[in-house]
């Protein structure tokens, strides 16, 4: 079974690598370049997991996460937040907004893949 993944980030330079990486790992990958688009794709494609950047124009990752958690139909979606905000207060806020995990940029792609796998394996399908 291929899991569907959404990558939401406004920086094309990271998006290109993440997209390549996740496809190589055998996931079905969708991308979104801002918060609005992310919610749109979430509702349309219902991915199992979303890699969500915090700093996005329009709607921030925090807001997207909050809306996602408020939406009954999207309950089960796993959220891995990716952000350049490294302060522990930001981590706390991300987790409070409903993120399942939090990774601070920069990160190693190997660890990212490992984290994604752990999350998918740990969660009931």
């Amino acid at each position: 079974m291929t899991s569907k993944i959404l990558i939401a980030d406004d920086e094309p330079n990271i998006l290109i690598s993440l997209e390549y990486l996740m496809k190589r790992e055998g996931f079905e990958v969708h991308v979104a370049r801002d918060g609005h688009e992310a919610l749109e794709v979430l509702r349309r494609e219902r991915p199992r997991l979303v890699l969500l950047d915090v700093m996005m124009p329009g709607k921030s990752g925090f807001e997207v996460c909050q809306e996602l958690r408020a939406d009954e139909s999207l309950q089960g979606t796993l959220v891995l937040m990716l952000t350049a905000k490294g302060r522990d207060t930001d981590v706390a806020k991300g987790l409070a907004m409903g993120a399942d995990a939090y990774m601070t940029k920069p990160f190693s792609t190997r660890e990212l893949v490992q984290k994604v796998r752990e999350m998918l394996d740990g969660a009931p399908a």
Binding site: E11, I14, I16, Y20, R24, T104, P106, T109
Partner: protein, 729 residues
């Protein structure tokens, strides 16, 4: 008044004469009549009958003559003593030493006046003796207060002390400057509308904010905290950021309320600039960390993807683009940061602002004292303000001079100061004629700990330079056969320089009345203004100079001068003095009166600007003027146009003078001032007249009290009733 009294007295004399004449004439007539025979009576009646009218006219003429003759006597024996009595009362109550005269009275009256003068002199002597005693006793207290005031005025932190009502009872120079910067629209009042003894601090700070801080201070006091102070930061109306630290003032020992809070001290810091710098630093740091994180993430991910053996060439090229792009972005970011950093954002060492020329002076003194070398000042740019750690920099200069003397036998040194062409910095050169030195020597001098005589310091010249975010090098001027050490030092921002210059200016003025501890006692009474006592009110005493006497026919104000009276004290230091461009010509004939020429008002603000400033200055006070109706009419005629209404009560010293001295001929300001022995300086400038009026007013208050006039309401009522009030202006 005087003439009316004389007329009445004369009429009374004439009446008395008529009465006497009637009694004696009719009595005598009746007596004669009774001794006559019938025939004689008829003959007399026939003889007199037709001439009765003539007799009557003779009688009237006689009465008139008597009354006329009595007039000088009345003047001499009734009017003169009355006047003398009034003058005497004035001397008694005002306490002013002034010789009485009874030139129009008789010798006895003159003797009386002399005796009175002698008594007054004795009283004056006694009073002086007592005053000397008291002065000796209170000199100690006074000295302590002055010492406190002197201390306060020199502090570079601004301090304001208020009572629990928020009324200011002490402030210093620095506070005044700061409030001047805070003052928004009516700049003409120069901050004097915000800070002043007896003024409310709540015109600057939100009342709730201060109340909140005071509450937490009170709580801490009750808890017995060692340092019960509170702090708040507020944005003023003009957008400045002020940090205020509040500490309680507690009632002194021996007071019945000892220990209770009777007021508070505010220490104010304008942190606008620091805050801006801090925010800028924060922004840079933020940009550096978060921006770099994002770039690094892209770089790392791309690099890791490039390791993929199976990568197709097109995809490889895209990942390489990412790497190149992010590397460029990071370079740009670092370059931007370095540029801003160079503007002194990185300097954390607290530097003071100092006039460059002053520093050069200090450096020369230091070098001469330390090394005995002759120093000269080369070209020094007098306009430069530096940001310095002057102590360590002086040490460094002294150290270098000493090594030059000891190791290079240098005999004389020159100091130069100029703006650096390469940016917002100054060049400070320590120059000498003679031998150059090797780079190694310069390096070792720069890196050796600074040791001057017995003093050793852990610092090196390089440390000192780094503290300033500056540079230091050795250079040779072959043309002039000179060698020099050059320091690049940061310049102070121009605003700071201006502020410091103002501070220096203010400091050179005589110290005005900046404190009034009596205000501690006065809790604001909840009574209506009219019921409050004259002595406890705050007044704005003002005067205007105008182009003429007819405001309704186009005459305009050309000068407003005002001063404040608070708690029975005249506050000369808080005056308002403003020339006004009337927007019309100034009649030639009036110039000798007020001394204001068209050139003087050219370019001055118009009344539309000045009135709001004056209005703010007069806020929460009672207005006082001499012949106030005149000045008020000028102000009132502008109400509609400027929207500024002076609705506070007004007192008129002319009317009040008439209340206390109804029998005096003149109530002109000069005449009253002379009666009260007030020295008149600068009369016929608006401020000069306002100051005289204020002094007159202060003398009138106790005289009014003797007449049972204690409150504002009573004073206004008495003024209304005075004779002069009924004469139209």
């Amino acid at each position: 008044m005087r003439e009316r009294a004389l007329m009445l007295a004369t009429a009374a004399v004439a009446g008395a004469a008529a009465l006497l004449l009637a009694v004696f004439g009719l009595g005598g007539g009746a007596l004669v009549w009774s001794t006559l025979e019938l025939g004689q009576r008829e003959a007399l009646a026939a003889a007199l009958g037709d001439r009765m009218a003539l007799l009557f006219m003779v009688a009237v003429a006689l009465c008139a003559a008597v009354a006329g003759a009595a007039q000088p006597l009345i003047r001499r024996w009734i009017a003169a003593p009355a006047r003398l009595g009034e003058q005497a009362l004035a001397v008694v109550s005002s306490g002013v030493q002034r010789d009485l005269e009874a030139a129009d009275g008789g010798p006895a009256l003159q003797a009386l006046a002399q005796a009175f003068n002698e008594l007054a002199r004795q009283r004056e002597q006694l009073r002086r003796d007592i005053a000397d005693e008291v002065a000796r006793a209170s000199r100690g207290v006074e000295q302590e207060r002055n010492r406190l005031a002197a201390l306060m005025s020199e502090l570079t932190q601004s301090v304001v002390v208020c009572n629990l009502d928020g009324r200011i009872l002490l402030y210093n120079n620095r506070a005044r400057m700061q409030f001047r910067a805070l003052s928004d629209a009516p700049t003409l009042a120069d901050g004097a509308e915000l800070i002043g003894l007896g003024r409310s601090i709540y015109t600057v700070f939100d009342r709730r904010l201060v109340a909140h801080a005071l509450e937490s201070v009170t709580q801490r006091v009750q808890r017995g905290a060692a340092h019960p102070s509170a702090q708040f930061v507020t944005v003023t109306r003009s957008g400045q950021l002020l940090r205020a630290q509040m500490a309680p003032v507690r009632a002194a020992e021996g007071d019945e309320a000892a220990g209770a809070i009777s007021g508070f001290v505010l220490m104010l810091d304008n942190i606008t600039r620091e805050y801006e710098q801090e925010s800028e630093r924060e922004r840079l740091l933020h940009g550096l960390t978060e921006g770099s994180r994002a770039s690094l993430a892209s770089l790392q991910a791309a690099a890791e993807m490039l390791e993929d053996e199976a990568l197709e060439p097109a995809m490889r090229e895209r990942f390489l683009d990412v790497v190149r792009d992010e590397a460029r972005a990071m370079s740009r970011r670092i370059a931007g940061l370095a540029a801003q950093n160079a503007q002194g954002l990185a300097t954390r060492w607290p530097l003071e602002e100092m006039l460059g020329a002053d520093f050069v002076q200090a450096a020369r003194r230091r070098i001469e004292a330390q090394t005995g070398l002759a120093t000269g000042a080369g070209e020094v740019d007098e306009s430069l303000w530096l940001k310095l750690d002057s102590y360590s920099l002086l040490q460094a200069l002294g150290y270098l001079a000493q090594r030059l003397r000891d190791e290079f036998e240098v005999r004389a040194l020159h100091l130069r100061l100029a703006a650096a062409p390469e940016g917002p910095r100054a060049r400070l050169d320590l120059a000498w004629t003679g031998q150059a030195m090797s780079t190694e020597t310069v390096m070792s001098w720069e890196m050796d700990p600074i040791a001057t005589g017995s003093e050793a310091s852990a610092l090196t010249v390089r440390d000192v330079v780094q503290r300033h975010g500056g540079e230091f090098w050795f250079e040779r001027d072959r043309v002039r056969h000179q060698a020099f050490f050059r320091f690049l030092l940061p310049l102070a921002p121009s605003a700071a320089a201006q502020e410091a210059a103002e501070a220096a200016f203010l400091r050179s003025e005589s110290r005005p009345e900046y404190y009034d501890f009596d205000l501690f006692a006065g809790r604001e009474s909840q009574r209506e203004l009219d019921d409050r006592r004259l002595v406890e009110l705050a007044y704005t005493v003002f005067d205007t100079e105008t182009t003429g006497l007819q405001p309704s026919q186009g005459d305009e104000i050309i000068q407003i001068g005002a001063t404040r009276v608070v708690n029975g004290k005249l506050l000369r230091g808080e005056s308002f003095d403003q020339l006004v461009d009337p927007g019309r010509s100034i009649p030639e004939a009036t110039i000798p009166i007020h001394g204001i020429t068209p050139e003087m008002v050219a370019g001055k603000p118009r009344i539309d600007e000045v009135l709001p400033a004056f209005h703010a200055y007069a806020r929460d006070t009672v207005l006082v003027a001499h012949n106030a109706a005149f000045d008020m009419r000028f102000l009132q005629l502008k109400e509609e146009r400027t929207g500024v209404r002076f609705e506070q009560p007004v007192l008129d010293t002319l009317l009040l003078s008439a209340v206390v001295h109804p029998n005096q001929d003149s109530h002109r300001l000069e005449a009253i001032a002379e009666r009260f022995d007030i020295t008149v300086i600068g009369r016929h400038t608006a401020l000069g007249d306002a100051l005289v009026t204020a002094e007159v007013f202060l003398k009138l208050i106790p005289l009014l009290a003797e007449r049972g006039i204690h409150t504002l309401g009573q004073a206004r009522e008495a003024a209304q009733k005075s004779y002069f009030a009924r004469v139209s202006y």
